[in-house]
Symmetry: C2
Subunit: 135 residues, 2 copies
DNA sequence: CCGTATCCTCCAGGATACTG
DNA sequence: CAGTATCCTGGAGGATACGG
């Protein structure tokens, strides 16, 4: 599909979008989701190694994020009944396709980083006191 | 741009992504951002009309979202010094390009809605008590 | 090694009331 | 009409401790 000229509103009512799509995005945007997809995109990893690559994650959040991604079928969890126990996380094909979409969005963000930073600065300069906020 | 085979980690350190990109996405994902971009994508609107198309928004949030989008140069605010005052919001070219990206993401979400719903259901059925959550 | 349980903090965002 | 100002709540997510 040539999604280039999609109008959001042809995709459903605002409410449908604000429900379903935010629901989907929330999963990937639950602070660690995008990162997990990104890291897994170059190959399966075990729990601890994943944790090592996401140094600021609490185990709680890592597990939670992983469970959600697994529940949605974006990530596949495989347990190898060895000693000590070994668990591997991998992207599913659909998970990979989402990662590809996200990569485009990240690409957009990076392409326009300068524009946005510059615009923010001039906006802030024009309004005393209204500053702070962005990075 | 062939962003199709971008690896997230070639785009910067995880931290950079987790800082800047989430910063950008937050703006569009601050609950009403995507919707605002979507609605404005078919033409400029005035404040009240925008509010009417986003029935569940508080004025506070509408204003806040609009200000952020404006600050980043994604939305252009034009004041017509008439009586009563008239303010028009429109997408900037960069805002439009972000909307196009988001539209692709929405397209993805809609394409895979069935897959995800199904997967969730079977996941939940396999785990008593772990249910609820999704739509 | 691979998680789960519990407690606590912080702030996005809603309700409501007011103004130029 | 086009916002501001203020108060308040829910829940995402961090810290920490424990279990299989």
């Amino acid at each position: 599909m040539s999604a280039a000229n999609i109008d959001v509103r042809t995709l459903g009512t605002p409410d449908q979008i604000n429900t379903w799509m935010r629901d989907v995005l929330a999963r990937v945007e639950d602070k660690w989701g995008v990162l997990i997809l990104g890291i897994l995109s170059s190959g399966p990893l075990r729990y601890a190694e994943l944790g090592r690559q996401l140094p600021d994650t609490s185990q709680r959040m890592l597990t939670l994020s992983l469970r959600r991604l697994e529940r949605d079928g974006l990530v596949v969890r495989t347990v190898f009944p060895s000693t000590p126990p070994q668990v591997e996380y991998a992207l599913s094909p659909v998970g990979l396709s989402l990662h590809l979409q996200m990569a485009q969005l990240i690409g957009w963000a990076l392409e326009h980083e300068d524009y946005i930073r510059t615009h923010r600065r001039s906006y802030d300069e024009a309004r005393p006191g209204g500053g702070s906020g962005g990075g």
